[in-house]
């Protein structure tokens, strides 16, 4: 199997885009192509384009987004595919691009994830996101992602002794990280005391879905992120040394959350991470930096355990010790995470890989993890019913398998 690497990254400022969907995707795409030293327009060298978006159809009334993107970027006749896996659409697109190159069907691919959500009301957005839940057993009840997260959080707190303050500490950490990430949506750090223990805490940080407060939940953001992938054997044709995709693991779990055998487990995270480690030949102990899917802060804690980065039930202790801050033992969500950087659904999985690529290149500025060599991303689809774990590395075999390069 051919090895695949990342040679270009692009990212819009998350927040409110104010431009149409395909134009927003284009900004991220050309930044990634510029970063890879690839020309846009004729002789561009992009064989295939993957676009990841969940709401292009339902929210933006546009289908065939990847085909539109190829045209506006003048990448015709490059192949184009649109991919949807809920909030994990981005990682799915990276995975499919990986397979496209590994198979020898193409040498380079452009992956663009994005979501334009702030064009509808908050309750429409909430309803839209809920369409990934089970239609009869969940969606028709008015259940939403925050509702499922609230119920999960309550059990996790009960079982492992996680406190509301622990949750707020994750949020504050991620907001602190986001202060060093110019593309993050939220650029302010809430005060831990004010949002938890102060007598007015419940006013500035009200409940969304008990026990979750506003500061335990990611904002609604527009935004796009992009990557240029290439066969590693062609890596020396690009200005920057490729960051290699060492492992990808994916697993599915029950659609209806109530059906899961252990309500506090995120089985698909565990299985996806195990597969990614096995494929990469890298162990959890070797991971230097991770981007975990903290749409709700409890998920950062639970995923850090399921991915083997901390022992079961001890993720919140790592937060208390400061292990997961930049400067700590194993920094998590240096980008600000979904919590502070924002969570434009289709963009998130791509954005995680953009951040980790910058970390492994040493381009992460004030949030740089010194000497980072191996990195992991967890992108969480549905309420954990389709999860992808991706491992990146600066290391690799001395020589790469040849696949009859066409570029």
């Amino acid at each position: 199997m051919r090895q695949v690497g990342i040679v270009g990254v692009g990212h819009t400022k998350f927040g409110k885009a104010g431009v149409p969907l395909v134009e927003m995707l284009s900004y991220a795409a050309v930044e990634a192509m510029d970063d890879a030293g690839i020309k846009t327009g004729k002789g561009h060298g992009i064989d295939q384009v993957f676009a990841a978006t969940m709401g292009g159809g339902m929210i933006n009334r546009q289908h065939g987004v990847a085909s539109a993107l190829v045209d506006t970027l003048n990448l015709r006749p490059a192949m184009a595919e649109s991919v949807e896996n809920g909030p994990a659409s981005g990682a799915s697109a990276v995975k499919l691009a990986y397979m496209a190159i590994a198979s020898g069907m193409c040498d380079t691919a452009l992956v663009v994830g994005g979501e334009l959500m702030r064009v509808v009301s908050g309750w429409e957005a909430t309803d839209f996101v809920a369409t990934m839940l089970h239609p009869e057993a969940e969606y028709n009840y008015g259940l939403t992602l925050p509702a499922l997260a609230g119920m999960f959080t309550r059990l996790y707190m009960e079982k492992y002794g996680v406190t509301e303050k622990d949750l707020a500490m994750v949020a504050v950490k991620n907001h602190e990280h986001a202060m060093h990430n110019p593309v993050a949506h939220i650029q302010l750090v809430p005060d831990l005391y004010s949002i938890t223990e102060d007598e007015d805490a419940i006013i500035i940080n009200p409940h969304v879905a008990e026990p979750l407060h506003v500061y335990d939940v990611c904002p609604v953001s527009d935004g796009a992120a992009a990557l240029v992938l290439c066969a590693m054997e062609a890596g020396d044709r690009f200005p920057k040394k490729p960051v290699r995709i060492a492992g990808i693991g994916q697993a599915t779990d029950t659609h209806a959350v109530a059906e899961r055998a252990v309500s506090t487990d995120l089985l698909a995270v565990r299985l996806a991470a195990e597969k990614a480690y096995a494929m990469a030949g890298i162990s959890p102990r070797e991971i230097d930096v991770a981007e975990l899917h903290d749409a709700f802060v409890i998920l950062e804690i639970a995923e850090s355990e399921e991915a083997g980065l901390f022992p079961r039930g001890e993720g919140h202790l790592a937060v208390r010790r400061g292990d997961t801050k930049v400067g700590g033992k194993l920094p998590i969500n240096t980008s600000g995470g979904l919590k502070a950087k924002g969570h434009p659904l289709g963009a998130t999985g791509v954005s995680q890989i953009v951040e980790l690529t910058r970390q492994l290149r040493g381009e992460a500025g004030g949030r740089q993890v010194a000497g980072a060599k191996n990195a992991m991303a967890v992108n969480f689809g549905g309420f954990g019913n389709n999860v992808i774990a991706t491992i990146l590395t600066t290391g690799g075999p001395e020589k790469y398998a040849s696949g009859n390069l066409r570029i």
């Binding site: 908050g122 008015g142 609230g150 059906e259």
Partner: protein, 113 residues
């Protein structure tokens, strides 16, 4: 108007499912019979949600997951304000969402006496 909620029993191995599956989780069978899913159960977890999706004209709704004596677990709305982990609840069926020309029925869990 479905005023009853069902479990789906594999005719080959007897395994119970809720919601319906196309293939039995236990034996791979594809034939099921409907069995009424009723009675009392235990509240596994719950939440009170303030940001409701489109179509709900209420300030908040409480949701819960309940485990029935047959081992099945199901999510539903809570019909009581007294909420406590492990409490006994009774599964009623009512309108959980008002649709256009069609209402959706589902579990509304009440405090058991």
């Amino acid at each position: 108007m479905q005023a009853e909620i069902y479990a789906y029993k594999c005719t080959a191995c007897g395994h119970l499912h809720h919601p319906a599956h196309f293939v039995c989780v236990k034996c791979g069978g594809r034939e099921f019979e409907q069995v009424a899913l009723t009675g009392e159960g235990t509240l596994v977890t719950y939440t009170r949600v303030y940001n409701l999706p489109e179509g709900y004209m209420k300030p908040f709704i409480a949701f819960g997951i309940v485990e029935f004596p047959n081992g099945l677990r199901a999510a539903g709305q809570m019909g009581t304000d007294e909420l406590q982990l492990g409490m006994r609840v009774r599964a009623e069926v009512g309108v959980v969402k008002e649709g256009v020309g069609k209402d959706f029925y589902g579990f509304i869990f009440q405090k058991a006496e």
